[in-house]
């Protein structure tokens, strides 16, 4: 720094600094020096008597002096405020951003915000609450969920103007408690046959179906499966009773004209939508189904459930039908056949015994207490084949929060035997098993993210797509059997999403101690 500049700067500081003596250094990305914390002191380069701002850029990095008992290190002070060792940005004139008055916005509706920069330069909008609202480049805001929507506006500056401090505007999405119900296209329904109606509420709450013509047809209140009893007009009503947030919806109805049976009278067709799941009573299987679309021209009088291979059977007049099947019921599938006065129709395709479970897997994280890494998910267990499918759920990131960020894991891509009588099932956030730099998802990896160093691959914290995984253990033959201590040790996770990263290292947890010290402590599986 030449003597003239130094002299001018000192002269200016003598005027400005005393009132800020002994106060901590503050931050600003603008101006020459960032001096006071309580009230950031922004020094306009022109006020220092310097004619050109970029003269200051020539200040040596080590230049410093003491004034008023306070260390004044010009570049240090800039650096302190600007987040690290680097050259100061001190070229530009400050600018600010102002929002117009906040508009009203209905929940799930849209509106527009207007922000302007004092420089006249265009602003960039972004949502600071992406789970609540989104915003486009022109300020169009769309409500996603209930809550306070925060829209941020930035202006990056140019050769003349410094970057503007970010401005934000909060908009409370107005909640509409009213809801409506809409029916889909009416299905075709033949005499004594079955069909399914479909209605939905604007609140997405579940619909309750009923028949207003019970002499003509009945309906499953939950599924909307309609069973015809005679020819005529079948009227189905849909209701939604509301909840703490929504008012009850006005009832909607749909009329189905039942076609009369025109062909030869036969035994009924095969029931549809047959499914089998383990019953709540041990040693039983509950078989659910819809009646046949084709009644054969006569009312259905009953249903017969048979196991394949043949060993267990049960009969009934409505779905579901419970059939015995000793634990673990592996190797067995089940069919359903309908009967009428003509005879018994063809059996439905055989259904495996599929049961849904909830799973909670916990890893103790000594270094992020009170937060632990917890996976909460679901999966389907196939008792027939002793296999697991559709493992998915969310993995908490214990370094974040509160509340903790949850990483969705939706791709089940691996299933291997654990050698201890269980299955190791792994689910991933991306549709690939490559999580770590060396490829794959070995639990004892050093944890560098996959793709590091590959040209074009962004790091997870820089917007790249880091993969994450969970490995749970499903004991056989019954998933809800408690894990042995040895099986607990087989649980693992790796998290290469941005919130799980320490530098380029993903957070992991396994019995050998993860990158942040995490290790598995518990898993519970319960039938849904």
């Amino acid at each position: 720094m030449n003597k003239h500049i130094q002299s001018q700067l000192r002269k200016f500081l003598k005027i400005q600094i005393p009132s800020y003596r002994r106060r901590p250094v503050s931050s600003s990305k603008n101006g020459v020096l960032c001096v006071a914390r309580a009230k950031p002191l922004l020094i306009n380069p022109l006020d220092t008597g310097l004619r050109r701002c970029d003269e200051l850029l020539e200040m040596p990095l080590k230049r410093s002096f003491i004034y008023g008992g306070m260390l004044i290190t010009a570049t240090t002070l800039v650096m302190l405020g600007c987040g690290g060792r680097g050259s100061p940005t001190i070229k530009a004139i400050p600018q600010t951003i102002h929002f117009a008055a906040p508009p009203a916005m209905p929940l799930h509706g849209s509106t527009t915000v207007v922000a302007t920069a004092s420089s006249g330069l265009p602003v960039i909008y972004s949502s600071a609450t992406t789970k609540i609202c989104s915003v486009n480049s022109t300020g169009g805001v769309t409500s996603i969920a209930l809550g306070t929507c925060i829209i941020a506006a930035d202006q990056a500056g140019n050769d003349t103007f410094a970057p503007a401090p970010q401005a934000t505007q909060s908009i409370a999405a107005a909640f509409d408690p009213n809801q409506t119900i809409t029916f889909g296209v009416a299905p075709a329904l033949t005499e004594f046959g079955t069909a399914t109606v479909s209605a939905s509420a604007s609140s997405n709450l579940p619909i309750h179906y009923s028949s207003t013509t019970p002499a003509v047809c009945s309906v499953n209140a939950r599924t909307g499966r309609v069973t015809d009893l005679t020819a005529g007009s079948c009227i189905i009503a849909a209701d939604q009773a509301g909840n703490a947030n929504y008012n009850a919806a006005p009832q909607a109805t749909q009329t189905i004209t039942v076609a009369t049976w025109a062909g030869t009278v036969t035994a009924p067709g095969a029931p549809s939508h047959v499914s089998a799941t383990l019953g709540n009573v041990a040693g039983t299987v509950v078989v659910s189904f819809d009646g046949p679309s084709s009644s054969g021209g006569r009312p259905v009088t009953g249903y017969t459930v048979n196991s394949v291979p043949s060993a267990y059977t049960a009969t009934g007049t409505t779905s579901p039908i419970t059939v015995p099947c000793p634990i673990p019921c592996n190797g067995y599938t089940f069919t359903v056949a309908a009967s009428n006065t003509i005879g018994t129709g063809t059996a439905s395709p055989a259904a495996d015994v599929l049961t849904n479970y909830d799973v909670v897997t916990t890893f103790f994280e000594p270094d992020t207490q009170p937060n632990d890494t917890i996976f909460r998910g679901t999966f389907t267990f196939n008792s027939t084949t002793q296999s697991v499918s559709n493992l998915q759920g969310g993995l908490s990131e214990s370094m974040t929060g509160p509340p903790m960020t949850i990483v969705p894991l939706t791709y089940q891509l691996s299933s291997v035997n654990d050698g201890l009588g269980g299955l190791l099932i792994s689910a991933f956030s991306l549709n690939t098993t490559h999580v770590f730099q060396e490829g794959g998802f070995a639990a004892n990896s050093t944890g560098i993210y996959f793709g590091r160093g590959v040209p074009g691959v962004l790091a997870p914290d820089a917007g790249g797509q880091g993969n994450s995984f969970i490995t749970i253990n499903v004991p056989l033959p019954t998933p809800d059997k408690p894990l042995s201590p040895a099986q607990i040790q087989t649980l693992a996770y790796g998290d290469c999403a941005a919130g799980g990263m320490m530098g380029e290292v993903c957070m992991t947890g396994y019995a050998g101690i993860g990158t942040m010290g995490g290790y598995p402590v518990a898993q519970t599986i319960t039938q849904k």
Binding site: R23, V25, P366, D367, Q369, T400, G401, M502, G503
Partner: protein, 694 residues
């Protein structure tokens, strides 16, 4: 060894010579001083302890400058700024430290000095002196050199000294941990290799002095460039330390006495990150940067009031500024800079007066009182980002009133009785105080990863600051007996017993809030934990015993023997726990044979097992051990050759004050490096040094 007028054991240049061949760590020069032990740290940065009180509980001056460690791990300790080769004398005030040399310390004072300026005797004479030294140490393949030169007339003197030293990792005598590499692809570390103990340092000093009659003005500019220093008991290594020290001092003799004045300035740029033996956590690692500035001034007058009375009065001022920040490193360690200590300040202003009276040839008394005002503050902080765990901690810290002013005072009373030529007795009382340092008050994050990085005691635990800490106040009673022959040539026996009660001793408690680890952190007995500094009461007591005797002479030379016994005990009276890093009882015995220019020494060092440990810190016990050191020196008029065999029997041992071994592996987590391994001592090393004087 001899007694100074103020009762400080003094290790002069000759006494230091033997140690220089063995170490590049100036603190190691103190290891034969009664009552002194050393905390293990980096290869050139050990932290001395006097009677169990260490680090900045001591006042450590290098050529009169109070240099402050600017690092959350105290890596750049005061004594790391002077190379052993440049040390001419060491004064250790271990008992009742006079107030004129104390202040803001409760354990004692260590004064390390380079050579006093020497001027030509005659007006037309040009004094020319130079000295060069090279050394090699087999264990760790350490080597280095130093050069010093001086030109002086009767009025002016110019000096230069430069010293460089470097070493690879040292090896213990046997495997003490599993072999492996710190990070995939990095060098393989055998079971014996003590990782993160390498270093590379360069210290230089330029001096000019002017003398006019009885007045001497000295200006020294010291430069340190420390390219790397590994720390086996820390979770990071020092990847750079650049420091400039400017020291202007005046000494004048007047009819009324002596006047000393000094102003000094130290600017430090300090960097830490993962060294080559550690897991690197990607391209950036975990950079931690520190900038600090120390400005000091003092003046002291030694007034001769009468033939029996000396009055020492003085004033001191020190201004210390510290910024400690951790640049973003990606993931949850970003996108912001993490401010560990933001614009920390710690300023001191001291006044003292000390009256020393020689009542008669047998009795001397000394009374002193000192006022010590310490003002500390720190700015608001932020974590790496607002979404992660440290955001709440930062908000809590920023809401605190952080400014603190401590008005401390010290007092000493000392009496010395010399009944005859063969004995001296000394007893005294001292009240000493010491304010918390910035790293005890202001580190704020309870996140384990962050707290683990704030640790200057080497135990592997995480530390969280406590803004509300009170100054420590120590009350010490000490008595010394010194028996010897009339000429002090044939034999001496000296013993010092001491008892210190420390009010508001800064110990630690298990952290039970924020992200400290919940109940597991409170109850863990065999792992690293999170701690917060806390004021407790403590007591330390012990005994030092040193002796030497001439054994006789014959055709094989002159034989003598020395012995040194240290015992110290430290207890936390609030919790009943033992204090951390208290050296177990230890004994040194040496047999010395001297024949003409050849001196040979065989030394046995015996150290008891360390069983009194700090439970709150999960301190590790260490086994007792014995070492044999063999040293030989041959001196010519212009040169000197030292050949030492340290740990000649290659015995494996754990350093009682070495701390937890953290030198390799993934160190950012409390669990990823196994707890229970102590930093071991060095295996056998053959050290040679050649010194040439011109």
């Amino acid at each position: 060894m001899q007694d100074s007028s103020q009762g400080a054991p003094n290790t002069d240049s000759a006494g230091l010579t033997t140690q220089r061949a063995t170490t590049s760590d100036s603190a190691r020069l103190l290891q034969d001083v009664p009552g002194v032990s050393l905390y293990g740290a980096g290869g050139v940065s050990s932290l001395p302890a006097i009677h169990g009180l260490a680090d900045d509980r001591l006042r450590i001056q290098v050529d009169g400058m109070d240099l402050v460690a600017a690092c959350p791990n105290h890596m750049n300790s005061a004594l790391s700024y002077i190379d052993p080769s440049n040390v001419a004398s060491v004064n250790v005030f271990a008992g009742i430290t006079p107030v004129s040399v104390g202040g803001d310390s409760i354990g004692g004072t260590i004064q390390v000095k380079s050579a006093a300026p020497e001027f030509a005797d005659a007006e037309d004479e040009l004094l020319k002196k130079a000295q060069a030294n090279v050394f090699y140490r087999s264990n760790g393949k350490g080597y280095g050199s130093n050069l010093s030169a001086a030109l002086a007339t009767q009025k002016w003197r110019l000096t230069y000294s430069g010293a460089n030293a470097r070493s690879d990792n040292y090896f213990s005598a046997q495997d003490f941990k599993l072999a492996g590499s710190g990070t995939p692809g990095s060098p393989w570390l055998s079971g014996k290799e003590v990782a993160s103990t390498a270093y590379q340092s360069l210290n230089q000093d330029f001096g000019v002095a002017f003398k006019h009659d009885d007045h001497v003005l000295q200006l020294n500019i010291g430069l340190q460039h420390l390219a790397f220093e590994g720390f086996p008991n820390q979770r990071m290594d020092m990847t750079g330390n650049d420091s400039t020290q400017i020291n202007l001092r005046y000494t004048g003799q007047y009819a009324w006495g002596e006047l000393e004045a000094r102003i000094y300035d130290q600017s430090t740029d300090h960097a830490m990150n993962m060294g080559p033996d550690r897991f690197t956590y990607g391209a950036l690692g975990m950079p931690m940067l520190t900038q600090a500035k120390t400005i000091g001034a003092m003046t002291q007058g030694n007034l001769i009031l009468s033939e029996q009375d000396i009055l020492r009065i003085g004033a001191e001022y020190q201004q210390y500024t510290l910024n400690d920040w951790w640049p973003q490193a990606g993931g949850t360690m970003g996108p912001n800079t993490f401010w560990n200590v933001d614009f920390g300040t710690r300023d001191r202003f001291d006044l003292f007066g000390e009256w020393e009276r020689f009542w008669n040839p047998a009795w001397m008394s000394q009374l002193g009182i000192r006022s010590d005002t310490v003002q500390a503050n720190a700015g608001a902080v932020q974590g790496y980002n607002a979404a992660a765990q440290w955001a709440a901690d930062a908000a809590s810290f920023n809401a605190l009133e952080r400014s603190r002013t401590d008005r401390n005072w010290d007092a000493t009373a000392l009496a010395r009785y010399i009944p005859d030529d063969t004995s001296t007795f000394e007893a005294g009382y001292a009240r000493k105080s010491h304010s918390p340092n910035l790293y005890q008050r202001y580190p704020w994050s309870t996140n384990t990863m962050a707290s683990l990085m704030n640790n200057f005691v080497g135990d592997g635990n995480g530390y969280i600051g406590n803004v509300y800490l009170r100054p420590e106040v120590a009350h010490t009673l000490s008595a010394t007996g010194d028996w010897h022959d009339a000429e002090k040539e044939q034999w001496t026996v000296k013993t010092t017993a001491y008892y210190t009660h420390v009010q508001d001793y800064i110990d630690a408690r298990r952290c039970d809030f924020g992200g400290c680890g919940g109940s597991a952190n409170l109850h863990t007995r065999n792992g690293f934990v999170n701690l917060q500094y806390a004021n407790h009461h403590a007591r330390l007591y012990g005994l030092d015993l040193s002796a030497q005797t001439q054994l006789g002479s014959n055709a094989y030379g002159d034989f003598s023997a020395t012995g040194l016994l240290n015992y110290v005990r430290g207890e936390n009276k609030t919790t009943g726990d033992d204090l951390y890093n208290i050296m177990p009882p230890n004994l040194k015995l040496a047999l010395i044979r001297q024949q003409d220019a050849w001196t040979n020494t065989a030394e046995i060092q015996l150290v008891d097992a360390k069983t009194k440990i700090s439970q709150v810190r999960n301190e590790m016990q260490t086994a007792g051990y014995g070492l044999l050191n063999l040293r030989s020196r041959y001196a010519w008029e212009w040169a000197r050759l030292d050949v030492n065999i340290e740990n000649a029997l290659n015995h494996h041992y754990e350093l009682p004050l070495g701390g937890a071994y953290l030198g390799q592996g993934a160190s950012m987590s409390s669990k990823s490096i196994p707890w229970g391994v102590v930093v071991p001592g060095m295996g056998r090393s053959i050290n040679t040094a050649l010194n040439v004087s011109f």
